[in-house]
Symmetry: C2
Subunit: 670 residues, 2 copies
Amino acid sequence: MDFAVIAAPIVGIVALLFALYKANSIEKVSPGNERMKEIASYIEEGAMAFLKREYNALSIFVIALFIILALAINWKTAVSFLLGAIFSVLAGYFGMKVATKANVRTANSAMEEGMNKALNVAFSGGAVMGMSVVGLGILGVGVLYILFSDPSIITGFGLGASSIALFARVGGGIYTKAADVGADLVGKVEAGIPEDDPRNPAVIADNVGDNVGDVAGMGADLFESYVGAIISAITLGLVAYGDGGVKFALALSAVGIIASIIGVYFVRGDKDPQKALNNGTLVSSLITVVIAFILSKNILDSYQPFVAILAGLAVGLIIARITEYYTSADYNPVKRIASESETGSSTNIIGGLSVGMMSTGGPIIVIAIGILIAFYVSGGLNDVATGLYGIALAAVGMLSTAGMTIAVDAYGPIADNAGGIAEMCDLPEEVREITDKLDSVGNTTAAVGKGFAIGSAALTALALFASYTQAVELSGIDLTEPAVIAGMFIGGMLPFLFSAMTMEAVGKAAFSMIEEVRRQFKEIPGIMEGKATPEYSTCVDISTKAALKEMVIPGVMAVVVPVLVGLLLGAEALGGLLAGALVTGVLMAIFMANAGGAWDNAKKYIEEGNHGGKGSEAHKAAVVGDTVGDPFKDTSGPSLNILIKLMTIVSLVFAQLFLNYGGILFNLFK
Amino acid sequence: MDFAVIAAPIVGIVALLFALYKANSIEKVSPGNERMKEIASYIEEGAMAFLKREYNALSIFVIALFIILALAINWKTAVSFLLGAIFSVLAGYFGMKVATKANVRTANSAMEEGMNKALNVAFSGGAVMGMSVVGLGILGVGVLYILFSDPSIITGFGLGASSIALFARVGGGIYTKAADVGADLVGKVEAGIPEDDPRNPAVIADNVGDNVGDVAGMGADLFESYVGAIISAITLGLVAYGDGGVKFALALSAVGIIASIIGVYFVRGDKDPQKALNNGTLVSSLITVVIAFILSKNILDSYQPFVAILAGLAVGLIIARITEYYTSADYNPVKRIASESETGSSTNIIGGLSVGMMSTGGPIIVIAIGILIAFYVSGGLNDVATGLYGIALAAVGMLSTAGMTIAVDAYGPIADNAGGIAEMCDLPEEVREITDKLDSVGNTTAAVGKGFAIGSAALTALALFASYTQAVELSGIDLTEPAVIAGMFIGGMLPFLFSAMTMEAVGKAAFSMIEEVRRQFKEIPGIMEGKATPEYSTCVDISTKAALKEMVIPGVMAVVVPVLVGLLLGAEALGGLLAGALVTGVLMAIFMANAGGAWDNAKKYIEEGNHGGKGSEAHKAAVVGDTVGDPFKDTSGPSLNILIKLMTIVSLVFAQLFLNYGGILFNLFK
């Protein structure tokens, strides 16, 4: 066994140890006074209770699929799947566990020691999450490769990661947005009390939501992306370059982890947290790029793979810039939405929807160019295999420093939560200012993270799609075949259906939440004067139940539909389905994420005093847009990234089945 | 030359004579008192002025493309194109000319003679439109086939029809919705005056908009669908069955026209206009189906083509049912949106968006099954050509009675306009009641029309796509080729970009309209008391200018992008682009049309007294949804049906170019 292959899981263990060390350092920070500890414990308990119930519900699904895989494919794939599911759960669990510790400690550090220390605690929380995700990811893939040396079996690991990710994203997304919308619409708009006010019955559910949606959900999501990219690179690398292709993919990922650990030490809180975060990201990216350049020549004896990696990085960075243009209040699109808010909610909504749709143009062209460069510069014109490997490497390159990008991403919700705790515990004004500052920096960096998430999802799904066509032994998928077109229509429709289901779920859950908050305001005497405590737990319960109930159908659909189409219409039509889902999935994900982001920032822009500021008619209209944008950007949109990959992995895992029994329907015509 | 081929243009002339006869019969009806004539003349003048300016603007585009075609392809195609463009303009012009006569006469008939006569006048107006469209369509295609006997040249006719249709739909759609939104938001919501109140400065522009958008725009749109379907059937029929394939397609269309003329006489206004319209539609469909059965055996010696036609009809009917389910207040989705309006605009918007997205599921599955049946039952498994011909026939079958369906469709806006005139001229209450009844029946039948429009667009585009792959001599379009995937991403993105542009155009134009109406309410003394006449013409002017300006970029984009991609990335990648655009175009069209319809009817449902009725908070929220839905269902959505076909026809016409010079970019890598 080669050194690079064995090094991979070892680096994974190193990352996990580093995460443990960081977690301990957070634990040592004081969580503040009794009131803070109490509020924090409400949040932690609510979050843990949700995770526990969610995982219980998922265990049924996991066991069922485990048995199916063991019977229909083989026991090795089934074991891989189980490991993937467990590791995904662990990644989400670790991240959330530490986030619910870090939030209150960030608030306390902001109060006692200022911005520098607060950034340090919040970012450490994010780093634990980041390192857990990449550590578990490379550990799992590495160990399975050492054990089985067969990419098709490791695909099971990806299936486990993807399916848990989908449920976690959808469930977490429904939870957090139902609570958020409920808390905002009744608390802020109707009752006129500020955000995170302890008199609001939904306030604890809202803060729990930040943890289960933005932290645990995101953790599972990125675990899935990371693992998916590596698996597709291993699969295609083996075909293109033999063992070298596998080695390079694993080595690149290991280097990225080490670079991320180094990068963490460059995030030092001087006066400017944005700069500190940028420094860390820059350092880890630079290290990775330089070593990738050397490894590319050394392991594969060619600079072509390196160019593909660069292309991937460029795609991620450019999409991030475009995302920023369409969603930041510094540019025209958001300003226009803000000004359109003056003529009411309808023009605000039309504005946001059209900005979202318009924003698909740039990223799609960049992705298309990225695909072409990664493929053709990697020699795809002469050897299809190396070209496809190039596409997979572009995704791996983009995600190699995921440890760092996740840390930067996950620190945002921690800071946000810290602000909530500061508000609820009546901490001094400066504390909230510090956490707000940290939070707003987090929003900007989150745009970068989103760019990488969408870009890598498109490339990874495409690489998995290529692996699929090889697995079902198709020489091509012919778009002029009516069955392929039919498959493509169905596939293209799934993201619409899926978004409809998740949005509706949020709508329904938010509706119950609104009714409950209104009820408490009316029925509990003294609640508005702060004399009586609201019944936080009923709100937590509403979100929990809605999330668990509503995540089932979309999640199961993602697994069942590809199998059904593959069996009925055959492997080629299933290829059409995957391609259709890939295209509309990426489009809808960009549309929804950016529309949501633009509405959010248009509202904030108005709140800064533009177009009449808070309380104006324009502001009311902007709040409507922001509320519509909530499920767009935090529930439906991000779930689509997972959906397209999950469906492809499902098809890949069950490839043998379609080869043997696919196309039942056509046998009727024969 | 065969009888069936010569019969086609003759039947076309018969249809046009019938239209002329009907137009004369309308002219004989009294237009009412002086006030009515005055208002009607405002509307007519505004509409004609817009059409004139629009056609002037388009003439530049037409001449430019004519020259390009003559130079790059051949003069015959260029002439075909010119003829297609002119005929399309004529179809729109005839339809609108008669609609602006019929509206006031419908109002007067309702006043003087009651429902029966009013239905008769309005429906006659629709019939003129319907017969003009199908008459000009089959005349053009028939004559060109007799002259050139070459489908590839006749494709030029389709290009002319499609490009004018796109501009007319987009321009008309922007015009009508800018006026509508402006009139509603300020007049109804802010000033609290009823719809069509003559004190509203935008009221004339609004009524003009119904004519240029819902009549002229729709006329050009359906002309394009009709012609596109026949052309694709001719092209594929020639390959599959030789001359017989052409004969059958033309004969089927001719039969449909005769059947529609007969059907017109079955629309007799007893007490129930819905039943009258249904009778007419039923009679013409039955005649067509029976004769299609006979012709299928006689001309092609097989019942397979007949089955494909039946499949097409079934697809149209089922989609119409599904559309009704998602957009009528009789069913749950609209009722749910109405109840979600109680918690405000944001839940109403989320509800409408998710209903729209959800509603894509059924139609897409039906289309997919329809494609499979039309292809495989027509013998596609043994002979691809006959299978593809089956798909084209499904579309032709669906549209064969277009003369009737358009009549039923176009009568709605005429009745709507009649209601507007009744309101503005202070006619007795009963008049408005009659026109409202006619209008509401029109809304239901419009759902059926939409089902056929979407279903036939999908099938026609697919048939044209098949013709394209034959024209560029591709043995297949391989989805595993990165260039094809890149093309597919770009193609899939175009409907998003296109919708964004058209929605933004409506938003911008509506914004100016709102400002202008507010200005007039403020600055013209006595306007609200009805003592001063508003400046109608400035509002007409705002809509006109906005429509003409904003239609240019999306229209030109639809023509330029396919050519560009074909030249740069080659014919196969362009195939990917077309497929991507087809899938997302159909999806977005369904999503937008149904979301818009659902919002509209949710508002009406509330206005009927549910959830607090007019003026309640729920009603305000529902008005927001309806306003967002306006550009969805009347501008962006319907344009997408044309967009996907136009891009395919452009590719088909320029096929030779891509064969010779396509794929410039790849030569760089060679």
